[in-house]
Amino acid sequence: MDELELLKRDWQKKDKQLPQLSFDEIYKMIWKKSSSVVKWIFFISIMEFLVPHLIYLVPSMSKNLAVWKDLGLGNILVISNVVQYSVVLFFIFQFYKRYREISTLDNAKKLMSNILKTRKTVKYYVIFCLSLIFISFIVMAVGIYLNEDPMTALGYGYKAENINPDKLKTTLVATVVVLGVVVTLVMGCIYFLLYGILLKKLNKNYKELKEMDI
């Protein structure tokens, strides 16, 4: 293709027209902060690891923990906490390992694949957290269903005097289940949207490179 050869000749003569930065200008740049995708993934992931745990520090949330005990679900809570923290630690370790593997010195395909793998670790973590949130709502619903006086357990005993207990129970169970579905879906949407936008370009380029080798 003659045009490409023409372009190549012109391209190689281009040096004179390119901007030239001085030593000082470049020197200043190396201390600036990077805005790379990897850095964003790192920060967002750390946030995702932390946020579910920060929620427990909010006073009203710790009050909610007492509700679990009153519903007779205290033991389940302890066990689920032990499981949850072991799994979280496992994920943090995996994430750190994957993050360390990312190197700009790898070829483009390997670099992209490593970034996507790191992101996948966090994705599994989020799926785990979302399932945990959903399951805890379901367990709570079951707890309410099996409890003789759920309103008192929930701390609203004084309001429930004139309401049919069966009807109340059904309404409570339904509310908790619906709330569980809504919270899980909303959090899931936020997460997938965040990474979808962040990694759109990378995903597209990775797919293209992979297709080249088929």
Binding site: M1, E3, L4, L6, L7, K8, D10, W11, Q12, K13, K14, D15, K16, Q17, L18, P19, Q20, L21, S22, F23, I26, Y27, M29, I30, K32, K33, S34, S35, S36, V37, V38, W40, S103, T104, L105, D106, N107, A108, K109, K110, L111, M112, I115, L198, K201, L202, K204, N205, E208, L209, M212, D213
Partner: protein, 160 residues
């Protein structure tokens, strides 16, 4: 160490500028990408052991930054003053048809996807297929096949 790094980068900065020229459309984005590549090069510098030439090592980090790490790909319209820098031909060999042809070619290359651009960039820099394949992580045969496809793609863009 930073003194040595900056000196080497200053001498080889054309490579980074060329990558930026291909992947951005205005001066702000150009500078932004240049800065990101510089940061990534500096971060990777401790691992540069001088086994290859500094410039060879730069190609990989610069392209990786452009096609993988750099997030902001503003779809801005090329500005007039930036365009004129890109397509200027030195006065002594001025040839209107050739200039027109070059302008069309640059525009066509700009329309390619990120990965295709990387291939074209390495081709224009006179790298052989082995190096192109290694930089992108594909096989040499596939790099050749892909380059032929890009040539056809460019032909289609030029003669729709």
């Amino acid at each position: 160490m930073e003194h040595q790094f900056v000196t080497e980068l200053e001498c080889n900065q054309n490579i980074v500028h060329k990558v930026c020229t291909l992947y951005t459309n205005d001066r702000d984005s150009h500078n932004d990408l240049f800065q990101e590549i510089t940061i990534q090069l500096w971060k990777a510098y401790p691992k540069f052991r001088g086994e290859s030439k500094f410039s060879t090592w730069m190609y990989r980090v610069a392209l990786n930054t452009a096609i993988t790490l750099y997030r902001k790909s503003k779809k801005s319209i090329p500005t007039q003053d930036y365009e004129s820098v890109m397509f200027k031909i030195t006065a002594d060999e001025y040839d209107p048809t050739e200039e027109q042809q070059l302008k069309l070619m640059y525009n066509a290359v700009k329309q390619l996807g990120d990965v295709d651009k990387a291939l074209v960039f390495l081709y224009l820099e006179d790298k052989d297929y082995r190096e192109i394949a290694e930089t992108l992580g594909i096989s040499e045969v596939n790099a050749r096949v892909k380059m032929n496809r890009i040539k056809n793609k460019l032909k289609t863009i030029l003669n729709p």
